[in-house]
Amino acid sequence: MSENEKDKKTTIIPIGPYHPLQEEPEFFELHVEGEKVIKLDITLGYNHRGIEKMAESMHYDQVAFLVERVCGICSASHPFAYVNAVEDLADIVIPDRAKYIRSIIGELERLHSHLLWLGLAGHFLGYNTVWMWAWKYREPVLDICERITGNRNHYAMFKIGGVRKDILNADIAGIWKMCDELIKPLEMFRGAVMDDPVIHARTKGVGILTKQEAIDWCLLGPTVRASGVAIDVRRDDPYAAYNMVDWKVIVTENGDVFDKAMVRILEMLESVKIIKGCLEGLKKTKEGEIDAKVKSIPAGEGIGRHEAPRGEVFHYVRGDGTNRPARHKIRAPSYMNVPSNQISAIGGTISDAAIVLAAVDPCYCCTERCAVIDTRTKKKILSGEDLVRLSQQRTKDIISGVWKPK
């Protein structure tokens, strides 16, 4: 059979450009033969906002608020990685109390993000009871966020050299109680996923990523931990208070959607453990010592990493001694995770594809911040290769001193 005849037999099923369930702009083109998916085209890049360029025109302090708005769900991850990067640049040591508070915010974000994913996963499966449950029990987590930071999302807590708002010692008991109340629903979710026949039937053995594939495709976060690769920046390169409290990395072996759900649910229980450890730690430190009072940022470069709910988020900041970053580069985890659908979705059925494509917990607004498009022809004028070449050229120019940050 020639290539042409083969094409005639396949049907193209479009999902996107505006995803009906995830409500984000991406375009999956499923090439199917009957029910079976044989090819998958992923088109991303609908979401250009020029965040990196904007960061170069703002003060270091203002950029923390800007990167918070890269994504609504990861609104602690990006500033977390960004302040880590700037602290690496300027060699700033932050007070212990600020470390604990940062970890608390980071873990609260993981809790609500995983609950959001769990709800969406149920919704994708058509099992809306899970959706309603998960989002119902997500509310108390957001209430804790509001109580600590002053907002349900967009915490405005991260500051170079510390945090902006203290958790008062008098408040700790109340927050502890709210955390305790989370354990019961989380245990219920563990049970609900482990023994629910519907979830078993729909997710077990679906969208398998083997350990080798996960390593080959450089996957991150719960996606890779579900395939038996134990990587976690919180443990491998400790920052904030993650090496000061007791917790463990959750790893499962099968790499299917069920395991990805399991990893996320068990991680939530670990997150509660980390939060409680941090609250214990807060009692040992002095109230009000939350800021290292940074005066200036020297020239140099720094990298910052944070294990976001979806995987490792990476920020690179280059300073030239002024009060604005000369270059700011963001790499979000979905950038690595989304292409893995090329493996996991192919060979399955269309009905499975919906949940498999969502299993990596994609976040497009984190991932996409640049695309070069000709406005007249609507064609991309810079391909991926061009961008790599440009990036390498810029790095060479910086090293050789041809290009200097303004």
Binding site: F65, T129, E139, D143, E146, R147, G150, H154, A156, D195
Partner: protein
């Protein structure tokens, strides 16, 4: 196989008794947490109009409009641009000029032009070149901070006297006014330097230096 369904029934029954988990917000009032970051409300009395908040605002939601002819400055908080981060409150010069409300959050409207609040401040202008020196309240605030040392600076203490109603600001001197008197005018830093140079070295020297 039976247990999962029993669990669902239990949850359904409790939900039936307790009613919906969601709040009845638009129909019933909602009280946010005490820490909640809501609408920033400027304080006419405590704000000194220095404009530090506009410099630190990450969303550039605070606008400063200087009217030189009327010698007044308007500071406007645009709530449609505001991200409610609380930087203006945290970094306020007087620490009391603007406060984030923890109850006012319901700002939805069909006309975004109504989404602002502003305050007006009187400016002190240079008597030579009509350049803005600072808002009157900022100078008075500085004078209060400096206490007895405020009298070391003519501009500050004249603003103090003016505020007490003892002295009056003359709107503008002619350039031909007696040179020596220039020391006792309310001048912007540039004009003060200029008059000082003229006094020390004379007109001709200053002209050549220019």
């Amino acid at each position: 196989m039976k247990y999962p369904k029993l669990r669902e029934i239990k949850e359904a029954v409790t939900a039936l008794i307790q009613g919906p988990y969601t709040t009845k917000f638009p129909f019933a009032p909602h009280t946010p947490a005490p820490n909640f970051r809501g609408k920033p409300i400027p304080d006419e009395k405590e704000c000194i109009g220095c404009g530090a908040c506009a410099l630190v605002c990450p969303a550039t939601a605070i606008e400063i409009i200087d009217d030189k002819a009327a010698a007044s400055r308007e500071l406007i908080w645009h709530y449609d641009l505001c991200i409610f981060c609380g930087q203006c409150e945290r970094l306020c010069t007087t620490e009391k000029g603007v406060k984030l409300s923890n109850t006012e959050f319901d700002l939805a409207t069909s006309d975004r032009k109504t989404l602002f609040s502003g305050i007006k401040k009187e400016l002190i202008m240079c008597q030579m070149c009509d350049e803005i020196i600072a808002p009157k309240d900022q100078i008075l605030w500085t004078a209060k901070k400096l206490e007895h040392m405020a009298f070391g600076n003519y501009m500050v203490f004249s603003a103090l006297l003016n505020n007490l109603g003892i002295a009056k600001f003359v709107s503008k001197f002619g350039v031909s006014a007696v040179k020596r008197l220039d020391f006792f005018k309310v001048l912007c830093p540039k004009c003060r330097r200029q008059s000082h140079l003229i006094d020390e070295y004379g007109d001709s020297h200053f002209e050549s230096a220019k």
